[in-house]
Amino acid sequence: MAAIPAERSLVTDSAAATPAATGSAATELHVLVLAGGLSYERDVSLRSGRRVLDALRSAGVEAELRDADVALLPALAADPPDAVVIALHGATGEDGSLRGVLDLCDVPYVGCDARAARLAWDKPSAKAVLRENGIPTPDWVALPHDRFSELGAVAVLDRIVQRLGLPLMVKPTQGGSGLGAAVVRDAAALPAAMVGCFAYDSTALVERYVAGMDVAVSVLDLGDGPQALPPVEIVPRNGVYDYAARYTAGRTTWHAPARLDPAVAGAVAEVALAAHSALGLRDLSRVDLIVDGDGRPHVLEVNVSPGMTETSLLPLAIQAAGLDFGQVLGTLVGQAAARRS
């Protein structure tokens, strides 16, 4: 396992991933891109899906786009694709359930299996695995809203603040795009943050807030084992990487590679690869971290179906690595298709 330096092409390292090889294998494939779904991130997913579709087609792969709805299983039965790219964000795409259904249909897909997806999707479970494997992640507590009504919200929140300190990060245990997430710097703001979070999920993750540089590391396996792409540094214009900052071009500055000391960048890549492996992931993932003032990385969460929109981090990292998005996807669908046999 090794980090891929910026501006150096990965494809030259791997015969299976050279553009020519990818082209000849993948162009004979029929690929289905799944996007949409019923999650809060439907809109983001539709954007990801269209981008993936364009990239695959530009790489010469025959691909079509479809929602995950009641027409999906009949379509899979009538015209089974060689591989599926899951561009669904939120539960359907990430909690493993759809992957389980695809397994039932004997349709291979890009990315990790159902079991690993379920583990990574539930942030407290994933954090526990990371910690067991010695991977740093901020202290946390995860509580369903029922517990607050049973035990009294004031007492529970007081205890959380005493134990974890301020500031705190409150976010849904499941889901992404910053929806329902808030930084709490003042204990008086905690109840409102909890209510905002519980609008999105029945269980909240309350985490010690780590100040530092927001970094995302995409991990790709194009046949030679998982490799870390250049880390992407996130600098939201108003300091908060919320929904508007994520999906409005111009609201965030991304640095790829991140402006990190080479030794720190190396440590960040190692931690990302360790997280990818500890969670049993496959093909691709995105590891979100904070690098604190002392250069220490802290893993916040790991995404098994990372965003693929024009402002998403994985495509930026692929570009920074000197790779072609379409060729990378072509290689991944080729690997997935090969798993069927």
Binding site: Y40, G250, W254
Partner: protein
């Protein structure tokens, strides 16, 4: 080393573009387009009630037999044939030759929305104030915001805009030296509130505006869609001068054709045409021919009755379901026409903050904040009854009631927390494609 913002134009945008950002609430509406979700969030007419075979045949002939003219450029003001038909339509509600309505003073527009934009272009300088009902039509807020005008809301009750509140708003603004250009009002079956300005108040509102030297922009998309007798005559039927009358065929025929109009004081007509030509050159000849032919050859008055009947039944379904299912402390308006009911939630509930929970429960509405320019409306929601069937409406209200009860319980646990309303008018409303 410089990073990328993925938008190299960031520093070059006009000032009015600054508020245009991705919104998580708008994104949630994407889910409402799935059939699993009961959408009470749209504003779409029930187009399936049209005789689509006959309309389709008519549209085909407009291409095959008259394409040489219908597919050609036309004049900026719109065809005379359509403007004559429009005058016949307006005459039904009392705007006729006796009050100076003439085809010569009608300008055909691309839906009512372009009519609004034209008025804004003609009359609003940056910093000018527009008075509007609170809440008001979200698309108007967008137009006024683009014109860099400030919207000051005037409250309503069950009889529409409150004249005393209008006087207070005018006086307050005069004291601060702000320049108020016009009152924008939807007096009949208001969007989103569903209320109608009473007969008695119509004269008073007109008098107040006349005294203050304010123009009145009367938006009347729903006036033909009353289901409990005739609506009071439009404001324009009562005054020749100072009232701009805007309407559309989007709710009475088909929004896909994008045909609306503005009846303007004679002196302004030429400027409207010049401004419209600068925007769009001319309205679609094909769409104008479609509306003209529809009004000339098809039973459109009968069709209006069908729409009214469908909407009355659906309004009854919505009001009945609200009565049976809503938690205590919820109130709502009882529209006698139009497409919308405006609900006020029990204390402490925030319709915008509750949206994700509602989407998870497979029901959608529009949070009240979308209809105010100043971030108020957190405790309100707009419910549409024109598109979903009565059965779906009841199911939607059932889901909504459950969501509200869950949210009330949550707020009991954590205490009342402040609203999360944005300060950007129109940001919390769906796009026009949402049914």
């Amino acid at each position: 080393m410089t990073g990328t913002t993925l938008d190299d134009y960031t520093d070059r945008y006009a000032r009015r573009v600054r508020g245009m950002t991705a919104s998580e609430i708008r994104a949630l509406f994407a889910v409402a387009s799935r059939p699993e979700v009961v959408s009470l969030a749209g504003g779409a007419p029930y187009i399936a009630a049209l005789p689509l075979d006959a309309v389709g045949e008519m549209l085909g002939k407009l291409g095959s037999e008259h394409g040489v003219t219908t597919l050609q450029y036309g004049i900026g003001q719109g065809t005379l044939e359509l403007r004559e038909r429009i005058c016949e339509v307006m005459a039904l509600s009392g705007i006729d030759a006796s009050c100076g309505a003439s085809p010569d003073d009608v300008v055909v527009t691309v839906g009512g929305q372009q009519a609004l934009d034209l008025v804004a272009r003609l009359f609003l300088d940056p910093g000018d104030v527009v008075l509007a009902e609170g809440p008001t039509y979200v698309g108007a807020l967008g137009v006024f915001q683009a014109a860099q005008a400030q919207v000051v809301h005037v409250p309503m009750d069950d009889d529409g805009l409150i004249p005393e509140a209008l006087e207070v708003a005018i006086a307050d603004l005069a004291r601060t030296g702000r320049r108020v250009k016009f009152l924008y009002t939807i007096p009949t079956y208001q969007n989103p509130a569903g209320v109608t300005l009473s007969e008695e108040r119509r004269e008073r509102v007109l008098d107040i505006c006349e005294r203050a030297g304010l123009l009145v922009v009367e938006d009347d998309p729903y006036g033909q869609l009353g289901f409990e007798g005739e609506a009071p005559r439009p404001l324009r039927a009562r005054r020749r001068d100072g009232v701009f009358y805007l309407s559309t065929f989007s709710k009475t025929f088909a929004p896909g054709l994008r045909v609306g109009w503005i009846l303007a004081p004679h002196a302004v007509r030429d400027k409207l045409v010049i401004a419209s030509e600068a925007q769009i050159l001319c309205p679609s000849g094909f769409a104008q021919a479609a509306v003209t032919t529809y009004l000339s050859t098809m039973p459109w008055r009968e069709q209006l009755k069908i729409y009214r009947e469908v909407y009355r039944e659906r309004r009854d379904a919505l009001l009945g379901a609200l009565h049976d299912l809503m938690p205590e402390g919820t109130t709502w308006t009882r529209p006698t026409g139009g497409l919308f009911v405006w609900a006020s939630l029990p204390d402490g509930l925030d319709a915008k903050a509750m949206m994700p929970r509602a989407i998870a429960a497979r029901v959608a509405y529009v949070p009240g904040t979308g209809f105010y320019a100043d971030g108020t409306g957190t405790g309100n929601m707009r419910l549409n009854f024109s598109f979903p069937t009565p059965e779906r409406i009841r199911e939607g209200v059932r889901r909504l009631a459950r969501v509200m009860e869950q949210d009330l319980a949550m707020r009991q646990v954590f205490g009342t927390v402040g609203p999360t309303g944005s300060r950007r008018g129109g940001a919390d409303a769906p796009g026009p494609d949402l049914a």
